[in-house]
């Protein structure tokens, strides 16, 4: 009879799960109703404070106390979120002004840290970022809480904390946050970091300078993130990056990022290096030639064309492909490319033909498109 007992036990647990499901349906529906009710109630209160602000008065002390008490619970924080979303849509200026006025409430909440689980603290971080609570100011208590979140194993915890820190516009805090992430040794996707840095609410150039000053203290993957950020945020580090590119002791990934930088920002002193990379792969790494072949599209000229035509004969697919793409971007005549098109290297011919076909297809589609 033991197997029956076991199945009865399983059955009982599954039945309780069905009961749990039913209770969940009830709770979710009720929660949704309660949320809307709280939200409407909050909206009334917030509107009256917004009216005070419009009349040149400040937010009442009692209202701030009320928020400090209410927003300790995640349910009320959800209602606050819903209300503010609505108000920001209807009267954005007044709503932003109100949010600026109540930032001390969030300092208090961070200090008390009532959100026991990481999941709830992440939501708090989201609110801080979404409503620009620390924009333009570095509130120590909130920053400390965010730094704590950076130690969490969950990627989304770290990412939310970083987003909140980016919104502060504080360069030093961002550098410190990246150092914390770097030292933790946990994987944090480079795309998320670069994307996040571009959301920085302060002066992008100041942040680039601050990151550059601490460049050597970072690991290679983080250095690549910083270089990518510099590339996407406006450049202006030509000389420094040229030195990195010329330094053979630097990691390959760092140098690849520098080549991409000079593909985006043409810089004459970098040109000879790019040509030499495209002509012969450095240290047997084909990536140098492939990335340089792309970067050279920013350096039109006879010599570039010759080097790229040479790269078309490479045995590596990516080098051939990138060289053909760069040649296509120069809009050369068939005559200028006839040596390749009528030459003996079938692979070079095919890849160039493909890029030219692509160009023609694009032009045809452009012509066919309705004006």
């Amino acid at each position: 009879m033991q197997i029956e007992t076991l199945i009865y036990a399983y059955l009982a647990i599954c039945c309780s799960m069905i009961v749990f499901n039913c209770v969940c349906v009830f709770v979710f529906r009720r929660r949704s109703r309660v949320l809307h009710r709280h939200s409407s109630h909050l909206e009334e209160q917030i509107r009256s404070q917004m009216d005070r602000l419009a009349a040149g008065e400040s937010v009442e002390e009692s209202h701030q106390m009320f928020l400090q008490k209410k927003l300790r619970s995640t349910g009320n924080l959800l209602a606050f979120d819903e209300t503010m979303e609505r108000l920001l849509e209807r009267c954005p200026e007044e709503a932003w002004r109100y949010l600026r006025e109540i930032s001390s409430v969030f300092t208090y909440l961070a200090m008390e840290n009532h959100y026991r689980s990481a999941m709830k603290t992440v939501y708090f971080a989201y609110i801080v970022k979404r409503y620009r609570i620390i924009e333009g100011k570095s509130i120590h208590v909130i920053m400390e809480l965010m730094r704590k979140l950076l130690q969490e194993p969950s990627l989304y915890c770290r990412e939310s904390a970083l987003q909140a820190i980016y919104s502060s516009g504080d360069c030093a805090a961002v550098v410190q946050a990246l150092q914390t992430v770097d030292e933790s040794g946990r994987f944090h996707h480079a795309k998320l970091l670069t994307d996040g840095l571009l959301n920085f609410r302060g002066e992008q150039r100041e942040l680039a300078d601050a990151l550059w000053r601490s460049f050597d203290s970072f690991s290679v993957p983080m250095r690549v993130v910083i270089l990518d950020y510099i590339r996407f945020s406006g450049g202006e580090k030509h000389e420094e990056l040229l030195q990195l590119l010329a330094d053979r002791r630097q990691d390959d990934e760092v140098r690849f990022s520098c080549i991409r930088y000079f593909g985006r920002y043409p810089y004459e002193p970098a040109y000879p290096l790019l040509l030499s990379f495209a002509e012969r792969a450095e240290d047997n790494r084909w990536e140098y030639a492939a990335i340089a072949a792309t970067a050279l599209s920013a350096y039109p000229g006879e010599h570039t064309v010759e080097v790229l035509k040479g790269a078309l004969n490479s045995s590596n697919w990516y080098i051939r492909f990138n060289a053909a793409k760069s040649l296509e971007s120069f809009h050369l005549s068939y005559l200028a490319l006839s040596d390749v098109m009528e030459g003996n290297d079938r692979y070079a011919r095919e890849i160039l033909q493909y890029r030219l076909d692509m160009k023609n297809a694009r032009e045809e589609e452009k012509e066919a498109a309705p004006v």
Partner: protein, 472 residues
């Protein structure tokens, strides 16, 4: 004297069989139970994470190539590509591989998207049949490439797609499936979370009865067709819950061919899709496990619950037979080819949980069940069958399985905010019992006879009646 000896032998045999089945059923019940409990908890946790903004939207994404293998899909292919163009994602390309269709699959696409013929060199990194022609469309939201090649089967078509893919990750989908609007963002999420992810399985759900608008569910109903309706329950219990459980210990052995994401570099390193198997989706995942473990590469194969792909499930028994036969033969091929995973410490939980589960409860289960039935007949003949106990036992088991199906179904429906009508709820309750008592045995029969005609049909795509998916 001789009769007594024979009876003793039969008794001993039946006792042995009894012990075996007790262990077998305890194992199966425990697995199902764990799968549903873990699956349901995971679904609720994800819901809570979404509510509290613990999973955030990102503006930059991992670029992916979507490969759509198509064979005689003129009815659905253009609609499928249109639905792919409507996806909420920035950087991707669509590659449709027409695997020597006999209908006008390629021409339908060329006309629908005003495609241009192009001479494109193909870098053959994995083996496939030669191409006949290539077309591109560049004026759409993302580039669309159409390649028509000689017929070589689905795996061969997918390999062609891999050879054409420009991006480091590729997604394979079926030409008769529709991806939910946010599915690419969801399937890419595990890649952003962990650099070692080499494959991610999407969540495949039956779309029969579902109304989709702009890649979102507009109205969710259980299908009118009873066979399809039972498959909805089966999908939730057997696929959704089990895959969430396997995901917990990196033990997924199957990523559905209808929706999966793969790291191109790793797939190429292990030779791409196997063109000689019917279950190329399972074969690839098992091969990835074997390749990564043999080469001591850190790797993760994940399952993305919220990356949803809507697919048509067969509404005719004949089509269901074709589909399940193909699945069972594919399972057999993969399991037998990678038998070194069996009882191999090097593979850890993949060997001792996943492989063992698929061997005992998927591949061999129809034969074990048949053996059980034959034993019952023998026991009845020699008057050793306790009929009331047997009936009670089967009833308990049926109710247990039904409760599990319902738990999985309602957990899924609730956690993704689908609204179902009261009548659909009642329908699910009534049909779940029918599913475990009838459909299960029909499927067992199909799987038992799967190898009949295997040699003759082993490389066939197999035709299943297609209907246009209700898109608006």
């Amino acid at each position: 004297m001789m009769m007594d000896g024979l009876m003793d032998t039969i008794k001993a045999f039946l006792n042995g069989v009894g012990v075996f089945f007790v262990c077998y059923l305890i194992g199966y019940s425990t697995f199902l139970f764990l799968a549903v409990v873990v699956g349901a908890s995971e679904l609720y946790r994800t819901r809570q994470e979404i509510l509290l903004k613990n999973i955030q939207e990102q503006n930059y994404y991992v670029p992916v190539s979507i490969i759509v293998p198509a064979h005689n899909e003129e009815l659905t292919v253009a609609e499928t590509v249109r639905s792919l163009l409507a996806l909420d994602y920035n950087v991707y390309e669509i590659i449709v591989v027409d695997d020597g269709s006999k209908d006008s699959t390629a021409q339908t696409l060329i006309d629908a998207f005003g495609m241009h013929s192009i001479r494109r060199p193909i870098r053959r990194q994995v083996p496939c049949q030669p191409e006949e022609f290539l077309y591109i469309a560049l004026d759409q939201k993302v580039p669309i490439t159409l390649v028509r090649k000689k017929n070589g089967g689905k795996a061969d078509a997918l390999n062609m797609g891999i050879n054409l893919a420009q991006f480091p990750y590729f997604i394979c989908i079926d030409a008769d499936s529709v991806l939910q609007r946010d599915s690419l963002r969801e399937i890419v999420r595990p890649v952003l979370e962990d650099d070692n992810v080499v494959a991610v399985g999407g969540s495949v759900r039956p779309c029969n009865g579902v109304e989709l608008e702009d890649g979102q569910v507009k109205r969710y109903r259980l299908p009118k067709n009873l066979l399809a309706c039972m498959q909805v329950l089966e999908y939730d219990r057997s696929f959704l819950a089990a895959r969430i459980l396997f995901d917990k210990f990196n033990g997924s052995l199957i990523i559905s061919g209808a929706f999966g994401l793969f790291k191109k570099e790793t797939v190429i390193a292990c030779g791409g899709y196997d063109r000689t198997t019917m279950g190329e989706d399972m074969e690839l995942v098992v091969k990835l496990h074997e390749y990564c473990v043999s080469n001591d590469l850190p790797y993760r194969i994940r399952y993305a619950t919220n990356a949803i792909c809507w697919t048509q499930v067969p509404e005719r028994l004949k089509d269901l037979c074709t589909q399940r036969r193909r699945w069972h033969i594919g399972l057999f091929q993969s399991m037998s080819r990678h038998r070194r995973l069996f009882g191999n410490l090097k593979y850890g939980a993949v060997s001792f949980v996943s492989y063992l589960y698929f061997l005992l409860y998927e591949l061999l289960s129809p034969y074990i069940e048949l053996f059980g039935v034959l034993t019952m007949v023998l026991a009845f003949c020699v008057d050793l069958l306790n009929v009331p106990f047997m009936i009670l036992f089967l009833l308990i088991y049926a109710v247990f399985s039904s409760v599990l199906s319902l738990t999985a179904f309602f957990s899924r429906v609730q956690t993704i905010d689908l609204k179902i009508s009261f009548s659909d709820g009642v329908k699910a309750v009534l049909l779940c019992l029918f599913e475990v008592t009838c459909l299960r045995f029909v499927l067992a029969f199909i799987r038992t006879t799967a190898f009949v005609g295997y040699r003759k049909k082993k490389m066939n795509w197999g035709s299943i009646e297609r209907k246009k998916i209700q898109l608006k």
